[in-house]
């Protein structure tokens, strides 16, 4: 049974560019959450998708957007990249009202 997968593993972009990160949830899970983790910090909640709609959102600007597909996979898009967007981006999946979230290995984004 595959766990949560994310692609790519690493990504280097320059300021002003746009980036798309991808996540496939654990089999049987219908909810995907995205987190940003800066170096030395804990993960911060970006948003959560359920039934292809954004259900909750954290304190992130509109430059951060997402999408969930009918197969429950998800994308995170970040426009007009800033140096401060450099971080590990984590995707987590869960099922229904089960509160346990299962995390993927993350995508390391570096903005130069």
């Amino acid at each position: 049974d595959a766990g949560v997968t994310q692609s790519p593993t690493h990504l280097i972009k320059t300021r002003g560019q746009q980036v798309t990160l991808r996540c496939s949830p654990k089999s049987g899970h219908d909810t995907v959450s995205w987190y940003q983790q800066a170096l030395g910090q804990g993960p911060q909640f970006i948003f959560q998708y359920y039934e292809e709609e954004e259900r909750q959102r954290g304190n992130f600007p509109d430059r951060f957007s997402g999408h969930q597909f009918p197969n429950y996979s998800s994308e995170l898009n970040v426009n007009a990249l800033l140096l401060g967007d450099s971080a590990l981006y984590l995707c987590a999946s869960s099922w229904g009202r089960d509160h346990t979230q299962y995390f993927g290995p993350g995508t390391r984004l570096t903005v130069l």
């Binding site: 987190y35 804990g42 993960p43 909640f45 987590a92 979230q101 995390f103």
Partner: protein, 113 residues
């Protein structure tokens, strides 16, 4: 802003010793979870304790929760070098039943052979 605060920020012990990490939070919660992270990669779920529970065990892990003090502790007994990692507590705040996790900054544990 992050709700949880772990204490200590860093902990260094010898193999076989016990490691205790504490977490404090600010608002009412549905449950509290502990996660482990190795070398800045994905988080591994360790244990979940609900707001109506006071103590929970899983293998060498023991978690306590004191909702009156808004605090939790994670005890790892008989530590091993493989336990070296960062440990995070995450609260699942009461937000209409949706499981948005709010993490602390973590405790970095180093277990020396």
């Amino acid at each position: 802003s992050q709700q949880g605060e772990e204490d200590p920020q860093a902990l260094s012990i010898q193999e076989g010793e016990n490691a205790t990490m504490n977490c404090s939070y600010k608002t009412s919660i549905n449950n509290l979870q502990w996660y482990r992270q190795n070398s800045g990669r994905g988080l591994v779920h360790l244990i979940l304790i609900r707001s109506n529970e006071r103590e929970k065990h899983s293998g060498r892990l023991r978690v306590t929760l004191d909702t009156s003090k808004k605090s939790s502790s994670l005890l790892i007994t008989a530590s091993r070098a493989a336990d070296t990692a960062s440990y995070f507590c995450a609260t699942d705040a009461i937000t209409g039943g949706y499981n948005k996790l709010i993490f602390g900054a973590g405790t970095r544990l180093a277990v020396h052979p």
